[in-house]
């Protein structure tokens, strides 16, 4: 029967993406003494005052909210490092700079609950917003290049939240192109020889829209 696949089953809500991100490890400096925690998700501690310890982000935030620790800013979240990343993002229009997969979620959680632990929090936050904008603009530009010939897309260094935002549209677009172009594809012989980037091309075809 005609109809597109139900996209609802495979949609991750932003909360679910954040849930996954909350397992990322960060470093805290506790101000209390606590025995080791032997949890289902892993063993952490024991905790001594002023001794840095690694814990999952959700645990760090829980302790921070109860004023039992400070959270050490991750290395990538400094003004210097982020300025470098932003410049590199602006200079390379087709590549994404390597960033932690959950950089958006981690930074949001830290800004919400541990802002006083981040040096130059205001500047860091605006740098991250700029980076997000530049990257998302690249994603949008990249979407314009999807055509009937696209049988696979490579999104190196894209982050979890960015993937989740673009997922529904990209899947429907690729699906629509695949459905409408596929019968002609099979009849056409491959006469283009080998290509350096087989990912984006599958044969000579007329573009419906010239840019």
């Amino acid at each position: 029967m005609a109809g597109q696949s139900d996209p609802h089953l495979s949609i991750f809500s932003p909360s679910e993406v954040e849930f996954v991100a909350e397992d990322e490890i960060v470093e805290i400096v506790p101000n209390i003494r606590m025995d080791a925690l032997n949890m289902i998700c892993g063993d952490f501690g024991p905790f001594f005052p002023q001794i840095p310890t690694k814990v999952p982000l959700w645990l760090a935030v829980a302790l921070k909210k109860r004023s039992k620790c400070t959270i050490r800013t991750p290395d990538w979240m400094t003004v210097d490092r982020l300025t470098q990343v932003l410049e590199a993002e602006r200079e390379s229009p087709r590549e994404f700079q390597p960033l932690p997969f959950h950089y958006i979620e981690i930074s949001k959680l830290l800004f919400d609950d541990a802002r006083d632990d981040i040096s130059d929090a205001y500047l860091v936050r605006s740098l991250i917003e700029d980076i997000r904008d530049v990257r998302f603009h690249k994603v949008e530009t990249g979407l314009e290049t999807i055509s009937g010939r696209t049988h696979a897309v490579k999104l190196k260094n894209l982050s979890a939240m960015e993937v989740n935002i673009v997922r529904p549209f990209m899947v429907r677009t690729l699906q629509a192109f695949y459905k409408h172009d596929s019968p002609q594809m099979i009849q056409q012989a491959d006469n283009t020889g080998s290509r350096a980037t087989p990912v984006t091309d599958r044969g000579p075809r007329r573009d419906l829209r010239r840019r």
């Binding site: 996954v20 998700c41 049988h151 696979a152 190196k156 899947v171 695949y178 087989p198 990912v199």
Partner: protein, 214 residues
């Protein structure tokens, strides 16, 4: 092959929660129902039960509130993953109940309880359709699975769309990988890079645990 050794040692090092998370993500992103990971679910259930008992003991022995609440969070997070995983599968079974019931391969991917659920789901739906609609249609059009006697196959059974596109990452280099039957689409899959591919092409890799769906 050394890459298999790496996979084995990586799998051994991953906690059950990480494995459950991976199973949950794969199940969410995949259009069809995947193989039920029975040993993993049993282990997680045991750990959940153990932690619940421990928390009961804590409540009696007056352990610090902070520690109790932290363990409770860990418990809640694990419960969420497990419940979501099971619910996702039940949703898929409900949606494709006819399709699953007539395929031995798909039935074999279900747990015993899921198989019972699928069976009764199919029976209930069939009965409902027959009583409310089909018994009132003329002969030749009253089958649950076929539009009419002239249909050559079961064309009224909803099937998952296997050629939908999914986002995925491979844990180790797969190298040149053929996406289609004709050999025209070849992609070089590099470890840790993110790709958007047709699910059907990478089905085998997902089942073998070499590719994760995001």
């Amino acid at each position: 092959m050394s890459s298999w050794d790496d996979d084995d040692s990586a799998a051994a090092a991953a906690t059950d929660v990480e494995l459950l998370k991976r199973a949950w993500r794969n199940e969410k992103a995949a259009p069809e129902i995947l193989r039920f990971d029975s040993p993993l679910v049993s282990r997680v259930r045991e750990q959940i039960q153990l932690l619940e008992e421990t928390l009961d003991d804590f409540a009696d022995s007056g352990v610090d509130d902070l520690v109790v609440s932290l363990y409770q969070m860990d418990l809640d997070r694990t419960l969420f993953l497990l419940r979501s995983y099971l619910r996702l599968r039940l949703q898929k079974i409900e949606k494709y109940t006819m399709h699953i019931s007539r395929s031995d391969d798909l039935l074999s991917r279900l747990s015993q309880q899921e198989r019972r659920f699928a069976k009764s789901c199919a029976e209930i739906m069939e009965k409902h359709l027959e009583q409310s609609v089909l018994s009132k249609l003329p002969y030749g059009y009253d089958s649950v699975t076929r539009q009419s006697l002239s249909s050559t196959e079961d064309d009224m059974v909803p099937e998952p769309q296997l050629d939908t596109f999914v986002f995925c990452k491979t844990k180790s280099d797969v190298g040149a990988f053929q996406l289609d039957d004709i050999g025209e689409e070849v992609v070089d899959l590099v470890a840790d890079d993110l790709y958007v591919l047709r699910y059907k092409s990478i089905k085998g890799l997902v089942e073998g645990g070499r590719i994760d769906l995001i």
